[in-house]
Amino acid sequence: MSATDVVTGFFEAYRNHDTEQMVDLCDLGADFSYVPFEAWGRQRVVRGDGKVCTIGKTVWTTLIDSFPNLSNEVTWITGDDDGNVAVEVVISGTQAKAFGAIGNQGLHYDLPHVFLFHVNEDDRIDDITAYWDTADWNRQLGRIEVD
């Protein structure tokens, strides 16, 4: 199985809201970084960095809970011989519950993302990094405060 096949399977599981399968496609210690996630408090900034089995699964489950029709469309994918994979994917959904600071107004969003993966020799994803523009996401969901 190629690294791009593994990643394609990951997004298929995501479309099916099968978070167990998403996690199963990853190494136990897989790293997770959702770069735009930042919660700024008075004392510290909480970021979307950690492990797939803890932060990652929680984020995916919460997203699916807040956007019950969450889906994705992979528009471009490439990989190399060392297990690196890059994906452009549009993630979309209609809000049914508040998500973090984004209150529920029942609005729909379609948001371009770039995901960077590394797939190890056991065909397991051991690193996930994602980028998107939260300003665009907030606008589509009716939130105008930057923070």
Binding site: V35, P36, E38, W40, T78, G79, D80, D82, N84, A86, E88, P112, V114, L116, T129, Y131, W132, D133, T134, A135, D136, N138, R139, R143, I144, E145, V146, D147
Partner: protein, 162 residues
């Protein structure tokens, strides 16, 4: 040499068929930008190649909208550093670069009023390379992170910081 490998070669100035090293081209592109040599970076590109800055909704050509954006970035962040933190090349000829952008605002940037604040934002650049030249650029970053660092409070008042 496989068909795919042959497709990823170009005829050098010495008339030899040379392998295209997409990663080296991408690395040189960011090195030129970091030292303020936008023209040098542009010399590595095909000017009529497609350019897209997704967070800004900018689409155009590398030599048009792309060059304008890079010149604005250099002017607004004159002390900018561009640290390539991950770089690989996909089989179809696209260099994928994660670039950490760090600098201090000295002029308006993408409509954001200058308050001389510090910026540090992670970005991703997809640079498609053909015959040793970049002929497609798509750049991703989180504009919300940029707004937050530069003091913008509301998305409907990007040019107002108070």
């Amino acid at each position: 040499m496989t068909v795919l490998d042959r497709a990823r070669t170009f005829i050098s100035r010495r008339g030899r068929q040379e392998p295209v090293d997409e990663k080296a081209v991408a690395q040189r592109f960011f090195e030129r930008l970091e030292v303020g040599d936008v023209e040098g970076a542009m010399a590595l590109t095909t000017p009529d190649g497609e350019f897209q800055a997704v967070a800004l909704g900018v689409k155009g050509t590398i030599g048009g909208e792309g060059q304008e954006l890079l010149e604005e970035l250099r002017r607004a962040l004159p002390d900018v550093t561009l640290q390539v933190t991950r770089l690989f090349a996909g089989h179809e000829g696209t260099a994928v670069a994660e670039v950490f952008v760090d600098g201090t605002q000295a002029d308006d940037l993408f409509g954001i009023v200058n308050q001389e604040k510090h910026v540090d934002v992670k970005t991703v650049w997809l640079l498609h390379v053909t015959d040793g030249r970049i002929d497609g650029i798509r750049a991703y970053w989180c504009q919300n992170q940029l707004y937050r660092r530069l003091g913008v409070k509301r998305l409907d008042r990007v040019t107002i910081t108070a």
